[in-house]
Amino acid sequence: MTTLSTHTTPSGYLLPSIHSAPPFFTQQPNPITQAVVCEQWTKLILSYARFKKLFVLRVEDAETLGGDWDEILRNERINRKLSAPHLSSIISTMVTKNLAAYEPPKQTRSVLLYWRQPEEWAEVLHKWVSTTGQLNTILTFLDITEPPIESPLTNLPTSLLKKAIAILAKTNRAQLFGIADGEGVRFFASK
């Protein structure tokens, strides 16, 4: 009997056993089965993204060898790979479920992954600002996404950062304004 077992990738990520099932890489003609396949892929993509701190997934990632996503979009041990149309359909389902957003908008080839929802990022951001004693100071986006000491926000895409700031602004915990060379933001303590 074929045993589908878990596998640890060179980067240390533990692949679920379903990843060693050959039909997992095929878009299923039965809609109920495909829903299962898609759900499993969604879980896998988000968990891998969180593990490797990846924020962007492109349909092309299914076709390019040597990319960030090779470890999960391909399985060399059973010689299977996810096809671009299949990945595109998974991505579209993820967007419908608000687990990803097309970025830039008005195209469907690339998404921003929400392994943390923008609301969660807003809290992470506010917590980081207050614990590092930067409340009430003016920060640039670069100060936040490329801090001297690595933080959970390091490399956060600007679009996601803007969404998080917008969420904080609604509760008066952040204020966005133009500065000499771009945009600046100031955070305030929670009331």
């Binding site: 009997m1 589908l4 077992s5 056993s17 099932a21 050959p22 003609p29 039965n30 299962v36």
Partner: protein
């Protein structure tokens, strides 16, 4: 000679009197018999209660003991699984009815949670493995026999829970769906091949026509959700995988 019954009026009195005495005697006798029986029953009950309390834990934890106990019960015509309603004094004393219901609930749990990926058909060994994982170490060892019994208790639910034999293996079906003969054959072939079936296997091994093989496989794929498609198969391009006979290390 003076006959006991006698003749004349006095005989009636005597007759009545003896009748009364007999009646007294008989009621006395039956009274003592009932008392005896009650005493025996009490003794039997207390013996059973004693048995139940001393062996309850081993019945629940030791599969061979449980099997022997169940055989003993069936030989004396007692159903230890008779629920609390059906005179389940036994069940109450042993908690065995509950034990089986509990197992039944866990079986349903596993069947339902794996249904989407296996189409409502799961191999017995796999079911046992998953239920055992659910119960944890303290659950003790559970056998094939226990599962078969528990699945029987699930039958009144009408959800189709049944043990079916496919290709010499026991499988548990959890959907109201009759498997036709062709599907049984496909499942048996898949079992031998570790889950993978292609048209050619059915043509070569079972002498089917390509049409028959394709129809059976496509029905299982599209209509029943019993198998998954693999369109990257190295040899045939299109292979069908039956998840219920694949072993999932989840």
């Amino acid at each position: 000679m003076h006959r006991l019954g006698g003749v004349g009026l006095a005989a009636f009195d005597r007759h009545e009197q003896s009748k009364r005495s007999f009646a007294e005697l008989s009621s006395e006798l039956s009274h003592s018999q009932i008392e005896n029986l009650q005493a025996e029953l009490t003794q039997f009950r207390s013996a059973l209660a004693h048995f139940a309390t001393t062996h309850r834990d081993s019945i629940k934890s030791d599969p061979s003991f449980r099997h022997a106990f169940q055989q003993m019960c069936s030989s004396i015509g007692v159903d230890p699984l008779a629920g609390p309603r059906k005179g389940g004094w036994w069940a109450e004393m042993l908690g065995l009815g509950d034990w089986h219901y509990e197992l039944g609930v866990q079986i349903v749990d596993v069947c339902v949670s794996t249904r989407e990926r296996n189409g409502g058909l799961i191999e017995m060994t796999e079911l046992i493995r998953l239920v055992s994982m659910l119960r944890g170490v303290q659950g003790g060892i559970i056998t094939d026999d226990d599962f078969t019994r528990s699945i029987k208790t699930l039958q009144p639910l009408g959800a189709g829970y049944e043990v079916v034999h496919i290709g010499g293996r026991k499988m548990v079906r959890s959907v109201v769906k009759e498997l036709d003969e062709d599907q049984n054959t496909v499942l048996a072939v898949a079992q031998d091949a570790g889950g993978r079936v292609v048209e050619e296997m059915l043509v070569n091994r079972k002498g089917w026509t390509h049409d028959r093989a394709r129809t059976a496989l496509e029905n299982m794929l599209l209509r029943d959700g019993l198998c998954w498609l693999d369109d990257q198969d190295e040899q045939h391009g299109r292979a069908y995988w039956v998840p219920s006979v694949m072993k999932w290390d989840v």
